[in-house]
């Protein structure tokens, strides 16, 4: 039983981190219709900056600087590179594939710098653990859940209560109508990308913290698990991203936890379990759990 509780708590923590990344995917998709394949590399950049800077600036300073840098980078990529291709749906497909090229550029550079090293981010939790009744949890995991909850609540409040959030929702609903009502599409888009970039740097902290060994060049690829999370919830739905992330996190933790019982599926099935879950969901609901089934206009 304690084993089960352990796994569930692990899964929730993992899901909370995926939610930060998946929410980034959703925000960018809502604003621009682009699925950003470079998001994993932006995340890796955030982690790398923290790892390099935390000696001089302290953890908090490094984190703040990293969040600002990745936000600026993501915003600039969108504003000065992707938006050249235009705003409509056809352009969104082209931009999606262009992000693959951007990903290759950023990742190659970071991989060259990181090499085979394991970088420590100098986070304040270290390897401390807390006893919660019958289960033992790493402090970093609890921090992941707490921070993600606060940040995600703040992002939802942004959507709901700020003029920018209103513009974003309007643009996602109908691009042309929003533009006619005076929504500055370019600015709304770029800001959405900034927000997603910042969230990615934050997620990097928890992906590299204990019990993970540290920041590696492959950390960005772990973030790819947020793809199924975002898709499974419905790409245009922030609530869906949240639900999808928790589902994916729990699945992964449970499959890893009960690996010995699931031996039929082979070693390391936890790595690919998110994708299996996503395929099953898409078979039943082709636009995800919370995705709107758009009516075709003739």
């Amino acid at each position: 039983m304690t084993g089960f509780l352990d796994n569930v708590l692990n899964g929730l923590a993992l899901g909370a981190v995926y939610a930060l990344v998946a929410l980034g995917f959703v925000v960018m998709f809502k604003a621009s219709g682009v699925l950003n394949f470079a998001h994993g590399s932006v995340l890796l950049l955030g982690g790398y900056l923290i790892a390099v800077l935390h000696d001089d600036l302290g953890f908090a300073g490094a984190l703040a600087l990293a969040v600002l840098s990745t936000a600026a980078l993501a915003g600039a990529l969108d504003r000065f590179l992707l938006q050249r291709a235009g705003q409509d749906e056809q352009a969104a497909h082209i931009q999606t594939i262009a992000t693959i090229g951007i990903d290759i550029l950023i990742f190659t550079d970071l991989a060259r710098r990181i090499g085979g090293d394991l970088l420590s981010l100098g986070d304040p939790w270290g390897d401390a653990v807390t006893e919660l009744g019958p289960v033992t949890v790493a402090d970093s995991r609890l921090a992941a859940i707490a921070v993600s909850t606060v940040v995600i609540a703040a992002v939802f409040a942004l959507f709901r209560f700020t003029p920018w959030g209103l513009s974003l929702r309007a643009a996602a609903e109908d691009l042309e109508a929003a533009a006619l009502m005076g929504v500055r599409l370019r600015r709304v888009r770029a800001l959405a990308w900034c927000l997603a970039g910042g969230l990615a740097a934050l997620a990097a902290v928890f992906l590299a913290a204990f019990p993970a060994p540290g920041l590696e060049r492959t950390t960005g690829q772990i973030a790819l698990h947020a793809f199924p999370a975002a898709i499974l919830g419905g790409l245009a739905s922030p609530v869906g991203a949240l639900a999808g992330s928790l589902l994916i996190g729990l699945t992964e933790a449970l499959v890893v936890g009960y690996e010995s019982d699931l031996h039929v599926l082979g070693d390391g099935f936890g790595e690919v379990a998110p994708y299996a879950v996503m395929l099953l969901v898409l078979l039943v609901r082709p636009t995800g759990l919370f995705g709107a089934k758009g009516a075709a206009r003739v």
């Binding site: 060259r112 793809f227 199924p228 078979l283």
Partner: protein, 395 residues
């Protein structure tokens, strides 16, 4: 006389024949390194043409191409060798292609319903799940170390270094030379079948489906059947490419068939220009040859050092990756119709220069009469440029 000869040379069949003869020459002049580049390029081109049919013409984004390549490669090496049924290699190759097609068909419940970016990520799942299966199903795939690939034999002729020994015009024919002609034959087969598919009814149905599903359905295109068929055909080309790759590598390992390979194929068709056979081929050659050439000529390039030299310097692999990533971004943002579109525009400009009074160009007047509803051309040169562009999907 000479004018007639020139006219003959300009004809399409003559040009194709000339190209075919030129492509048959390299084994007599180039060494194994260049032949291998050519071989990998041909295999990649076959796969890229398949993906181009699916993503370019039918508009179904697929990141799962590596999975179908893997089925072709592993299918062949399992079916043709000893821990396995041990079929005659030629039969095993055909079966591997059919197997890849069947896998594509099995995926059609998803492919028929899921659209756009959702389909892209769903096919991503295939790559990860497939990679997992390749790693764990030891008895068939050989696990992490993969399995060796038996050479192809066709009626007593083996596509390997010997058996029978072969010297043509003083050039000893080893594995690369023989496989070159096999690859060429398979590529020609792909070129003509895919071209025919695109020009014929299925190609037009798929293009209609991409532009508007509702409109296509109203015109009598069976949506679900065509979407599934596009997936099956594309997987079969991928399977064929997988067989050829396996023969060229002589050993298949799971790590080769990763997400990076799928992305490479997507990059090929995007750099080449979506929905055209020639574009897919050009993109395949570019993406395949670039890293190999960079590695070979690393010491002669500025700013690039030989592999394994000082720490923190720019190695050839990284340099190739930079160029590759930059090429994707630049092509997409500045020439969204790829190399194929660039070539077409250059040709249109040349044609315009040859006929200074663009308005009297027969092609231009034909396009003007066929589209009477369009506004009067703002400049006489414009219809000449627009006319080729309207034939968007001819290879």
């Amino acid at each position: 006389m000479s004018e007639r000869l020139l006219g003959l040379l300009r004809g399409r069949p003559a040009r194709t024949l000339l190209l075919a003869v030129l492509l048959c020459l390299p084994p007599f002049y180039l060494d194994a390194f260049w032949l291998r580049i050519g071989l990998f390029s041909m295999a990649a081109a076959i796969g890229a043409v398949g993906l181009s049919l699916l993503s370019g013409t039918a508009g179904q984004l697929s990141l799962g191409h590596a999975f179908f390549l893997a089925i072709g490669a592993y299918g062949y090496s399992y079916l043709a060798s000893d821990p396995g049924p041990g079929l005659p290699p030629a039969l095993a190759a055909c079966c591997a292609v059919l197997l890849a097609g069947a896998a594509g068909g099995l995926f059609s419940p998803v492919a028929g319903r899921v659209k756009g970016i959702y389909l892209g990520i769903a096919t991503l799942a295939l790559v990860f799940l497939g990679h997992h299966v390749l790693l764990t199903w030891d008895s068939v795939t050989g696990g992490f170390n993969g399995r060796s690939v038996p050479p192809l034999t066709l009626g007593g002729f083996t596509f390997a270094a010997s058996d029978p020994e072969l010297v043509v015009l003083g050039v000893p024919f080893g594995a690369e030379e023989r496989l070159w002609y096999l690859g060429l034959a398979l590529f020609a087969f792909t070129w003509f079948t895919a071209g025919g598919l695109l020009r014929g009814r299925p190609g037009r149905a798929l293009a209609a489906l991409r532009d508007s599903e509702t409109a296509a359905a109203v015109m009598g295109v069976d949506v679900a059947r065509h979407r599934a068929a596009a997936f099956v055909v594309s997987s079969m080309y991928a399977g064929l490419a997988g067989v050829l790759l396996a023969l060229a590598f002589r050993r298949v390992v799971p790590d080769y068939f990763s997400l990076a390979l799928s992305i490479d194929y997507l990059a090929m068709i995007v750099i080449g220009g979506l929905g055209s056979v020639a574009g897919a081929t050009a993109g395949a050659v570019f993406v395949t040859a670039l890293p190999l050439l960079m590695t070979r000529y690393a010491d002669q390039l500025p700013l690039v050092t030989a592999p394994g030299s000082a720490e923190g310097s720019l190695g050839p692999t990284e340099a190739a990756r930079y160029l590759y990533g930059a090429a994707i971004v630049l092509v997409l943002l500045y020439a969204p119709d790829g190399l194929h579109g660039l070539a077409r525009r250059a040709r249109a400009r040349l044609a315009r220069r040859r006929t200074p009074s663009g308005g009297r160009n027969p092609e231009a007047s034909a396009s003007a009469t066929s589209a009477p509803s369009s506004a009067s051309p703002s400049s006489p040169a414009e219809p000449a440029a627009a006319a080729p562009r309207s034939k968007e999907h001819t290879p």
